[in-house]
């Protein structure tokens, strides 16, 4: 089952709901090691993005992703704005003029998106960032897509690996962002960025299954 424009809209509707309903949780995680704004920033950004795509008329899946990307870059305020913005912007560029995208298209685009995030934030694996959830998610999705699995099945594999990656951030010492100023004291807490990545992927699958 590929994803069309209407499904892309649904996908981001569910992502927005998930971020809003986990606002306190993300903020709580961030208050342990960051500046306690991840939940608030992400909720603001996705709420704006949701308003934008609800009002927009689209013929291409990439159009939805692009509007989400631009809105996040303008209204999140923190580092997650340009980072998630870059993910969805690169994905939209890779989707090009496609009216629907299948699992192979999605995974290719996701790979471009992750490359963009790595170039921008310069984080490496185990720096205790969203990259720790995104990287295993991509690997799992790549494997599933090359076995010819459809998009929901591919996302399911990605989510499971993102969740493991997210949990693996708990003992890590942060090397990037506000948490890195805490040094050793950042260990013992789950990374908020890796957590929001897991939430986003999970909600995307929910939207896709409707």
């Amino acid at each position: 089952m590929p994803m069309n424009v209407e499904q892309a809209r649904k996908v981001f509707e569910r992502v927005t709901e998930a971020i809003i309903s986990h606002k306190e949780y993300l903020t709580e995680l961030d208050s342990a090691i960051g500046d306690a704004d991840h939940g608030i920033n992400m909720s603001r950004g996705f709420t704006k993005a949701q308003e934008k795509i609800k009002a927009g008329a689209y013929t291409e899946v990439g159009g939805v992703f692009k509007d989400v990307a631009m809105t996040l870059m303008g209204s999140v305020g923190g580092a997650s704005g340009p980072l998630y913005g870059t993910l969805f912007m690169r994905m939209s560029m890779k989707f090009g003029t496609k009216q629907e995208v299948d699992s192979a298209d999605f995974v290719e685009a996701f790979e471009e998106g992750l490359k963009g995030i790595l170039a921008l934030g310069k984080a490496q694996l185990e720096d205790k960032t969203m990259v720790d959830a995104l990287t295993p998610a991509l690997e799992a999705m790549k494997a599933a897509a090359s076995n010819g699995e459809d998009l929901p099945a591919v996302l399911e594999k990605g989510i499971a690996s993102a969740e493991e990656g997210m949990k693996r951030t708990i003992p890590l010492v942060a090397k990037k962002g506000r948490a890195s100023y805490l040094g050793e004291r950042s260990a013992g807490h789950q990374d908020p960025g890796a957590t929001s990545t897991f939430l986003i992927l999970s909600a995307m699958l929910e939207g896709l299954r409707e």
Partner: protein, 132 residues
């Protein structure tokens, strides 16, 4: 002449710093400020930076961008991706934001190149305020 863009999480901080930097060069260097989210809260906005860079590049041949920290750096890097070929005319400097903007302004006012202005701004971190 080279222009300067101050990027801060706070619009007020960015404007204040730009005001000081501009005064250091007697107002002859184009110095702009951008800060806050699109809703006016604390944070940085990629479209806001793209717009400010576009405006500056109409009057300056290059721009030294001085970010405060964290997402200001990431937002600035993202903004460059929207500039196409003009991205080559912008250098992001790793400097304390007030001192970097001030020193860039003075250096730009004597007609220095983009690379030179960026280098001098970067040296701002060596400024000592209390010793000697």
């Amino acid at each position: 002449m080279i222009g300067i863009l101050v990027v801060s999480h706070s619009a007020k901080a960015a404007e204040g710093i730009a005001e000081i930097a501009s005064q250091m060069s007697g107002g002859i260097v184009p110095v702009c400020a951008v800060g806050g989210t699109e809703e006016g809260g604390l944070g940085t906005s990629v479209p806001g930076i793209v717009e400010a860079l576009g405006g500056l590049l109409e009057k300056a041949e290059g721009v030294v961008l001085v970010p405060d920290l964290g997402s200001a750096v990431l937002s600035a890097r993202s903004a460059l991706e929207f500039l196409g070929d003009d991205a080559k005319k912008v250098l992001i400097v790793d400097a304390p934001v007030l001192e970097g903007a001030m020193m860039a302004s003075v250096e730009a006012s004597i007609g220095s190149s983009l690379e030179r202005v960026a280098q001098v701004a970067g040296e701002a971190r060596l400024l000592s305020k209390l010793s000697r």
